[in-house]
C-alpha cells in the first residue's frame, strides 16, 4: 500500500504524487471511529487520488459509510461519535482544531443514499449552498450558478422550464441528480456519495453512473456502493472493508480480477455479504 502521504509534511500543503500520475487528494492514516464504547472502524490508512473515482465496497456494517462520513466530518453531528487518527486533504489535517468543519463541508460535498431535496423550489435547492457561503449575489450571478450546476448534473434540460417548482416533485432519479447539482453548486473539491443509487431504478441508476463518470474530470469522487457491478463500472480504484477494517485497496480491475486477500475474493465472488 502506498504510504507516501504519511511521509509528506503536514504543513507543507504540497500533495504527494503517485506513481500513476494522479496526485493524492485525501490521505487518511490510522483512522478509528468510536460510537460511545463501541469501535466501528479500526486503524484505516488509505490514500485517495484526485480526479478519480474511488469505490468503497464491503458487506453491510463494515464501516465503509462511517469512514466516508469522516472525510467531511459529518460524524461530528453525532454526539457520541469520536474519531482518532488524521485525514489530510491536500496535505492539511482536517481534524486540526483550526479547521472549521462547516467550511470543510463546503470543500467536501456529500450525496446521500436517499435523495433528500429540501422542501423548496428547484432553484432554491441549488442556491442554498452558494447563498449561505456568500459565493454569489442574487440575480444573474446566482442564475448562472444554478444553470451551470444543473447542466453538470445533467438535469438542466429536464427542469429548466420549472425552476420555481418544488424539488420534492421530481422523480427519484431526478431528485438524486438535483442533490448532486446542489453539492456541485458550492464548487467542492471532493464529492462523497453514500450509496447514491440504492433507492433508484436501473434506468435512473445508469444515468447517475454516467454522470459520475463525467464528474471525475473535475472532482475527486468517493462512492460507497453495495453493487459490485457498479463499483466495477464507475471506479478506477476500489477499497474493500470488512468488520471495520480496510482489507485491501488497489486498482479496481486488480481488486476484481486478482484480489490478494481471501476475504475480498470470497466477498466479490458472492460467498458472503
Amino acid at each position: 500500500m502506498d504510504k507516501t502521504a504519511e511521509t509528506t509534511g503536514v504543513l507543507s500543503g504540497a500533495a504527494a504524487t503517485r506513481t500513476d500520475g494522479h496526485e493524492i487528494k485525501v490521505a487518511a492514516s490510522n483512522v478509528s471511529v468510536f460510537y460511545g464504547e463501541k469501535q466501528a472502524l479500526f486503524d484505516v490508512t488509505i490514500d485517495i487520488p484526485g480526479r478519480q473515482v474511488m469505490a468503497f465496497i464491503g458487506p453491510s456494517g463494515c464501516g465503509k459509510s462511517t469512514f466516508l462520513r469522516c472525510i467531511n466530518r459529518m460524524n461530528d453531528t453525532i454526539d457520541i461519535c469520536s474519531v482518532t487518527g488524521t485525514i489530510e486533504i491536500d496535505g492539511a489535517n482536517i481534524y486540526d482544531p483550526k479547521i472549521d468543519p462547516v467550511l470543510l463541508r463546503a470543500r467536501v460535498g456529500m450525496v446521500f443514499q436517499k435523495p433528500n431535496p429540501f422542501p423548496k423550489s428547484i432553484y432554491d435547492n441549488i442556491c442554498y449552498g452558494p447563498r449561505i457561503h456568500g459565493k454569489a449575489r442574487a440575480g444573474s450571478e446566482m442564475d448562472e450558478i444554478v444553470e451551470v450546476s444543473l447542466k453538470r448534473a445533467g438535469l438542466w434540460n429536464e427542469v429548466k422550464d420549472r425552476l420555481k417548482e418544488p424539488g420534492t416533485g421530481l422523480s427519484g432519479g431526478q431528485q438524486q441528480r438535483l442533490c448532486i447539482a446542489r453539492a456541485i453548486a458550492v464548487n467542492p473539491e471532493v464529492i462523497l456519495m453514500d450509496e447514491p443509487c440504492s433507492a433508484l431504478d436501473p434506468i435512473a441508476t445508469a444515468r447517475i453512473e454516467e454522470l459520475i463518470d463525467e464528474l471525475r474530470e473535475r472532482y475527486t469522487i468517493v462512492i460507497v456502493t453495495h453493487s459490485m457491478q457498479q463499483a466495477a463500472r464507475v471506479s478506477q480504484r476500489a477499497a474493500f472493508f470488512h468488520l471495520g477494517r480496510l482489507v485491501e485497496e488497489g486498482e479496481t480491475d486488480l481488486i476484481f480480477t486478482n484480489p490478494s486477500d481471501q476475504r475480498t475474493q470470497d466477498y466479490i465472488t458472492g460467498r458472503f455479504g
Binding site: R105, F112, K114, F118, P119, Y128, G129, I132, H133, C179
Partner: protein, 459 residues
C-alpha cells in the same frame, strides 16, 4: 332490592352464562364435532345475550320510574289540593310528598299529603320489585334463548363481533348527540337573545353595558349590547398571550430538539409539561398576586398609570400557560422533519442556525402553524385567568396597561348571582357563547386541517 344488587346479580348470571356456553361448546368439541367458533366465543355470546338486555332494561326503568310514580301520585291527590295550582307549585308539592315519604316531616302536613306519601312508598316498592323480576326474567330468558341457539355450526364469533360493533356505535353516537345537544341549547338561547337585540347591533355595536332594569319602574340604563369592545378585549389579551408564548415556546422547542443533549432534554421536557399541568386557577393567582402588582409598580415608577387589572398582566400570564402547548407542538413538528434534511444541509456546509432557519423551520412550518392556531383557540376560550386577572369594564383600547374585558369574563359575570333567564342581560351570555364557540370551532378546524396536510407530506 336495590339497583346495585340487581346489577351484581345480572353480572353473576352473565358469568354463569359464559361458563355454561363455553362448557357446552367444549363438550361438543370433545365429541369430535367440527366447530365454527372456539368455545370461548360461545361463552361470550351467552353472557352478552344474558347481560346486555337486562342491563339496558334496568337503565331505562330507573330513568322512567320517578316521572311515572310522580305523575301517578299527583294525579291521585284530592282536588282541593291541586285545583288551580301552577306547575311550579305542583313540583313543590311533589317534593314535599317525597320528603314525608322519606320521614322528613315538618309541621303538620295535610292528611292528603300523608296518604300520598304512603302511596308513593308503596309504588316505589312495587316498582323496584317489578324491575328486579323483569330484569332477572330477561337475563335468564336471554341466557336460555342464547343457549338454545348454540350448535357446532353456530357463528358465535361473528355474532359477538356484531354485538361489540353495536356497542361501539352506540358510544360514538352518544358523544355526537351530546355535542349536538350542547350546540342546540346554545343556539336556542341565542335565538331568544337575538329576538330582543338585533344581530347587527350585537356584532358591530361599540358600546357594551349589559345592565338592564330589574323592575319596570326602575331608573337605570337601558342596556347596550354592542359586543365589539368585548371581542376586542379577547383578541387583545390573546394577542398579548401569543406575543409571550410564541417566541418562548418556539425557541425552547428548537433548543430542545436541536441543541439540548439527551440529559438536558430528559429533564427540561417534563418540567415544561408540569407547566401544562398547572390548573388555570393557579395561573390566575399568579397573575393577580404577582404579575399584576409587579407591572403596576413598574409602570408607576416609570410615571405611567396602570390599571390594577391590566390587559398586560392577564395576557402575559395566559402566554405563560400556553408556552408548553406551543413548545410541544413545535417540538413534534421539528422532530418530524427527517434527519436526511439536516444531513443534506450540514453536508453543504451550513451551520446549525442556518439549517434551522432555512430548512427545518420552513419544513416544520405547517405543523407549527397548526399548533399556534390551536393555542390561539385555547387563549380565546380561556376563562379562569381572565376572570381573576382581567377587568370587567369593556373598553375599546390598544393600551396594554388599561383593563379590558373578555367574552368569557362577560359570560361568567352575566350568569353569576340572581338572574332571570328571560332578560336580555342573561341571554346575552348565550349570544357571546355562540360567537365564541363558532370562532374557536373555525380555528380548530383550520388548525387540524393544516396539521393533517403537513403529516401527509412525510409519511
Amino acid at each position: 332490592m336495590s339497583a346495585t344488587t340487581l346489577l351484581a346479580i345480572v353480572l353473576a348470571l352473565s358469568l354463569i352464562g359464559y361458563l355454561w356456553g363455553r362448557a357446552n361448546a367444549g363438550a361438543l368439541k370433545r365429541a369430535g364435532q367440527g366447530m365454527h367458533s372456539i368455545p370461548a366465543y360461545h361463552g361470550y355470546f351467552v353472557a352478552l345475550s344474558c347481560g346486555v338486555p337486562a342491563f339496558l332494561l334496568v337503565l331505562i326503568w330507573l330513568a322512567a320510574q320517578n316521572t311515572i310514580i310522580d305523575s301517578i301520585v299527583l294525579a291521585g291527590l284530592p282536588s282541593y289540593v291541586t285545583d288551580g295550582v301552577e306547575s311550579s307549585r305542583m313540583s313543590l308539592i311533589a317534593s314535599e310528598i317525597k320528603g314525608i315519604a322519606g320521614g322528613r316531616i315538618f309541621g303538620t302536613p295535610d292528611q292528603a299529603l300523608i296518604d300520598a306519601a304512603e302511596r308513593y312508598n308503596a309504588l316505589r316498592g312495587i316498582a323496584s320489585l317489578g324491575m328486579a323480576v323483569c330484569a332477572l326474567a330477561l337475563a335468564i330468558g336471554g341466557m336460555i334463548y342464547a343457549r338454545s341457539r348454540l350448535s357446532p355450526e353456530f357463528r358465535a364469533r361473528n355474532r359477538v363481533d356484531n354485538i361489540i360493533r353495536w356497542g361501539l356505535i352506540v358510544c360514538s353516537i352518544l358523544a355526537i348527540l351530546t355535542t349536538l345537544g350542547i350546540i342546540l341549547s346554545l343556539v336556542i338561547e341565542s335565538l331568544a337573545f337575538f329576538a330582543r337585540v338585533p344581530v347587527f347591533s350585537f356584532l358591530f355595536g361599540l358600546e357594551w353595558s349589559p345592565q338592564t332594569p330589574m323592575r319596570a319602574d326602575q331608573v337605570a340604563a337601558a342596556g347596550a349590547f354592542g359586543a365589539v369592545p368585548v371581542f376586542w378585549g379577547t383578541i387583545f389579551i390573546s394577542a398579548i398571550a401569543m406575543f409571550v408564548a410564541l417566541p418562548v415556546g418556539l425557541f425552547s422547542a428548537i433548543y430542545l430538539v436541536e441543541y439540548a443533549n439527551h440529559r438536558v432534554r430528559s429533564v427540561v421536557k417534563p418540567l415544561l409539561e408540569i407547566l401544562a399541568g398547572i390548573p388555570t386557577i393557579v395561573y390566575g393567582f399568579f397573575a393577580i398576586l404577582t404579575v399584576a402588582p409587579m407591572i403596576r409598580e413598574f409602570g408607576i415608577s416609570m410615571g405611567l398609570s396602570v390599571a390594577s387589572n391590566s390587559a398586560l398582566a392577564a395576557g402575559s400570564v395566559m402566554g405563560i400557560m400556553l408556552i408548553p402547548f406551543i413548545s410541544s407542538f413545535a417540538d413534534d413538528a421539528i422532530s418530524a422533519v427527517p434527519q436526511s434534511m439536516r444531513d443534506g444541509s450540514y453536508a453543504l456546509g451550513a451551520t446549525k442556525a442556518e439549517t434551522i432557519r432555512q430548512v427545518l423551520l420552513p419544513a416544520a412550518l405547517p405543523g407549527i402553524v397548526g399548533g399556534v392556531l390551536l393555542a390561539v383557540s385555547r387563549a380565546i376560550g380561556e376563562t379562569m385567568i381572565v376572570v381573576m386577572a382581567a377587568g370587567l369594564t369593556a373598553t375599546l383600547t390598544a393600551n396594554p396597561l388599561e383593563g379590558v374585558t373578555t367574552v368569557t369574563v362577560q359570560i361568567v359575570t352575566l350568569l353569576i348571582g340572581d338572574t332571570e333567564f328571560d332578560s336580555p342581560k342573561t341571554l346575552a351570555a348565550f349570544g357571546l357563547g355562540l360567537v365564541l364557540f363558532i370562532s374557536t370551532l373555525a380555528l380548530n378546524i383550520v388548525a387540524l386541517q393544516v396539521v393533517k396536510r403537513y403529516r401527509e407530506r412525510y409519511e
